[in-house]
């Protein structure tokens, strides 16, 4: 197993890269969608329902569908991951914004902030620790889902897991799954530390 250490390291790097890219895209999408959902109750219900459907469909099914259309590789894996994370993140961002005390939004308006200033200077910073909690949960879930990339030639630690399963080779399965577990624990712990620092004022 130690002979394959560099393979494990490389796969772990790829795995992290998949998660990081998927998370970055997910956040970039979920922030505006979450703001939209929080500001407009009429949009919120159908939007969350649609994302909920995506969330309920097993990731593997989405992935299989995507592969059928666009072929193998990291691309379909990333799309699957982003689709899965949207429900968690959008709902979380909307809830975090709803949690901002009305008095603070009211004061922000009364003091002469524009809508954008109120969002950027008061509502998002105030909601930040809660949003960070959602990002942590999404990140941990994405570490697990990223394994599917290995199934479709997308790289990452899943490669060894699926290869090991096919060859009925326990050590290879472990070489893939143990780092995944460690990654999940490390990322969770890291986010919790950041969350604590970000919540100093709460």
């Amino acid at each position: 197993m130690f002979a394959h250490m560099h393979v494990v390291m490389m796969d772990t790097g790829q795995h992290l890269a998949l998660v990081a890219v998927a998370l970055a895209i997910s956040i970039a999408l979920a922030l505006p969608l979450g703001v939209l959902a929080a500001r407009h109750p009429t949009i919120s219900a159908p939007l969350l329902a649609a994302l909920g459907v995506l969330y309920t469909i097993p990731s593997l099914a989405i992935l299989a569908l995507l592969v059928a259309y666009v072929g193998l590789g990291a691309g379909p894996a990333l799309v699957t991951m982003v689709a899965y994370a949207q429900f968690v993140l959008v709902r979380n961002v909307a809830a975090a914004l709803h949690g901002v005390p009305v008095a603070q939004s009211d004061a922000a308006m009364g003091l002469g902030m524009s809508d954008a200033q109120r969002l950027m200077r008061v509502e998002l910073p105030s909601a930040f620790p809660v949003i960070l909690g959602g990002v942590r949960i999404a990140a941990v879930a994405l570490i697990a889902i990223a394994s599917l990339a290995g199934y479709v030639n997308g790289g990452g630690l899943g490669t060894m897991i699926f290869d090991g399963l096919q060859r009925d080779y326990l050590e290879e399965i472990l070489a893939g799954s143990i780092p995944i577990a460690l990654l999940a624990i490390a990322v969770d712990t890291g986010f919790r530390l950041i969350e604590r620092r970000a919540s100093r004022w709460r």
Partner: protein, 319 residues
């Protein structure tokens, strides 16, 4: 500091009806507030005080009528710009919990792009003004403050950019009586010194009597009397005003206390003499006849103290 003169405010038959409601929250209210005047909006819960107040900074838009600030119809002004000229203190305080005291106070100056040095100097000046030691309080977060300290920061934040008008919506409701009296004295003094026009909402008659140059009394969205405190006490214009005074027991408390209880050390100045055991209620008549000061005599006709209307109100309000 050069004090900016407060702006006048004029309500011209202002009506507000919230969507989905059958009745007007504010119903054809009309009155004038002079530059630098301290006006209290008084009335029971739900009578439309907050709604009327929020028409001034256009957080509420009237369905009919006009609100003029500094002789300009607010409907013609940019709401965001208008609000930066108007300080606003809300009952729930609404300090931004992720910002320090200093950052909270600096909000409007930084929206106005003041330079850093000017903002820093202003923060210290304001914290001194509301009697919070900058060295101790600047870098605290709101959760590290008592209710009274939060209220003070709320006032400092509202005053930061030297507003022409200060809107205060039950700003001291959440603090105990002693702190409330201290804050009332401070805000009255600050407003007088800066020349700021103040519109102050309360449902507490004593607070209104203590602070107001004039009191606007609202009943279910309508203005029932707009007058100086002394006139409200002595010439209630409607049964509603009498009952408002009754429920706060003001007249009885005026009857129970006498000149001796309210007097301050003897002052110079013309004014009628009263015996020390005369009730405060009777003394109001002297003020009504135009006296600014009343002198208090003991049984031997020696002058032992003097009284202004403010002293009378302070004496009954402190009970």
């Amino acid at each position: 500091m050069n004090s900016p003169a407060g702006a006048p405010v004029r309500f011209e038959r202002v009506s507000v009806r919230y969507s989905g409601s059958q009745t007007e929250a504010v119903d054809a209210v009309a009155f004038d507030v002079r530059p630098g005047e301290f006006v209290v909006l008084l009335g029971p819960s739900g009578c439309g005080k907050s709604t009327l107040l929020r028409t001034v900074n256009r957080l509420v838009v009237p369905n009919a009528g006009r609100v003029l600030v500094g002789d300009k119809d607010t409907a013609t002004l940019d709401a965001v710009q208008l609000r930066r000229r108007i300080g606003y203190v809300i009952q729930a305080v609404g300090l931004f919990s992720h910002m320090t005291v200093a950052q909270n106070v600096a909000v409007v100056p930084s929206l106005l792009h003041w330079d850093r040095a000017r903002i820093d100097a202003r923060i210290d000046e304001l914290l001194h003004m509301v009697r919070l030691d900058p060295a101790r309080y600047r870098d605290r977060f709101p959760k590290e403050l008592s209710g009274g300290e939060q209220q003070r920061v709320g006032v400092a934040r509202a005053l930061a950019a030297e507003p022409e008008i200060l809107l205060m919506d039950e700003p001291f409701a959440a603090v105990d009586a002693i702190v409330r009296h201290a804050l009332q004295d401070e805000i009255a003094e600050i407003a007088r010194r800066l020349g700021t026009t103040v519109l102050f909402v309360t449902h507490d008659v004593d607070e209104a009597l203590r602070l107001a140059a004039r009191i606007a009394i609202l009943e279910r969205g309508r203005l029932v009397q707009y007058d100086a405190p002394l006139r409200i006490l002595t010439a209630p214009a409607a049964p509603f005003v009498e009952s408002l005074l009754d429920t706060h027991d003001v007249v009885r408390r005026l009857s129970l206390k006498c000149a001796r209880d309210a007097m301050q050390p003897p002052r110079d100045g013309a004014g009628p003499d009263v015996r020390e055991d005369v009730s405060l209620r009777e003394i109001l008549n002297d003020f009504l006849r135009g006296a600014a000061t009343v002198h208090v005599l003991d049984g031997n006709a020696r002058r032992i103290g003097s009284l202004s209307f403010g002293d009378v109100v302070a004496a009954v309000a402190s009970s």
